[in-house]
């Protein structure tokens, strides 16, 4: 987390999803927290890994079904290149196998897109506070 002039901690967030409209909706949700900053948007798993390595964001919001490299594999690589970044999956996939794979890949959270407006902010706050899996 970086310091800003008002002495509030700024939370940096990288968004990885290939659906442009969804990235816009995510921005809208995240704007509810003034000290949270989306530092980058990417639309495939490879780019998610590369940008995470460069930017070292506090939070990476990952979709599962992305081109080039899926979100699960991307999360495994992100764990290596930026161990301090917290990963939260934001996906349409509600299957138990996907949840298990996501958490096994090192994610701190798993939020369904359909309920992201309600669940995403608490999931990020929980992940940043104590790294609990939600």
């Amino acid at each position: 987390m970086a310091e800003n002039p008002n002495d509030e901690k700024t939370l940096s967030i990288l968004v990885a999803d290939d659906l442009p409209e969804w990235r816009r909706l995510l921005q809208s949700i995240l704007q509810a927290r003034l000290n949270w900053q989306v530092v980058g948007e990417v639309c495939d798993g490879m780019e998610a890994v590369q940008r995470t390595a460069e930017l070292r964001p506090d939070i990476v919001l990952l979709d599962i079904g992305m081109p080039l490299l899926n979100g699960i594999e991307a999360a495994q690589r992100i764990r290596q290149v930026s161990p301090s970044s917290r990963i939260i999956f934001v996906t349409q996939n509600d299957g138990r196998e996907s949840r298990t794979a996501a958490l096994a890949a090192g994610a701190e959270g798993y939020v369904l897109k359909a309920s992201a407006a309600r669940d995403l902010l608490p999931a990020i706050e929980t992940a940043m506070r104590d790294g609990h899996k939600v």
């Binding site: 290939d18 659906l19 409209e21 969804w22 816009r24 909706l25 921005q27 809208s28 949700i29 704007q31 509810a32 900053q37 989306v38 530092v39 980058g40 948007e41 079904g65 081109p67 349409q92 509600d94 299957g95 897109k113 359909a114 309920s115 992201a116 407006a117 309600r118």
Partner: protein, 79 residues
């Protein structure tokens, strides 16, 4: 920071959400798989319209589910 011009109102968490079950989503994907590219494009454009950010409301859970499903179908044709 990447700017987003509008922040939609948060949904009422007490409101009963109209939400598609995993089975509904699979059926939607299966039926969409038989559509021609232009129909998939129309489906996607309609879903996109339903998910427009307005200053009144955030899109419903169902609208978001349909948008994502439409995108998955469109992606199959594009890539």
């Amino acid at each position: 920071m990447i700017e987003c011009p509008v922040m939609a109102r948060r949904p009422d968490i007490n409101r009963q959400e109209d939400i598609l079950s995993p089975e509904d989503l699979k059926a939607l994907g299966d039926s969409g798989a038989h559509l021609c590219p232009s129909s998939v494009r129309n489906f996607y454009e309609r879903a996109k319209l339903c998910c427009r950010i307005s200053d009144r409301d955030f899109p419903s859970a169902r609208a978001i589910q349909e948008l994502v499903q439409a995108w998955k179908l469109l992606r199959k044709w594009r890539f």
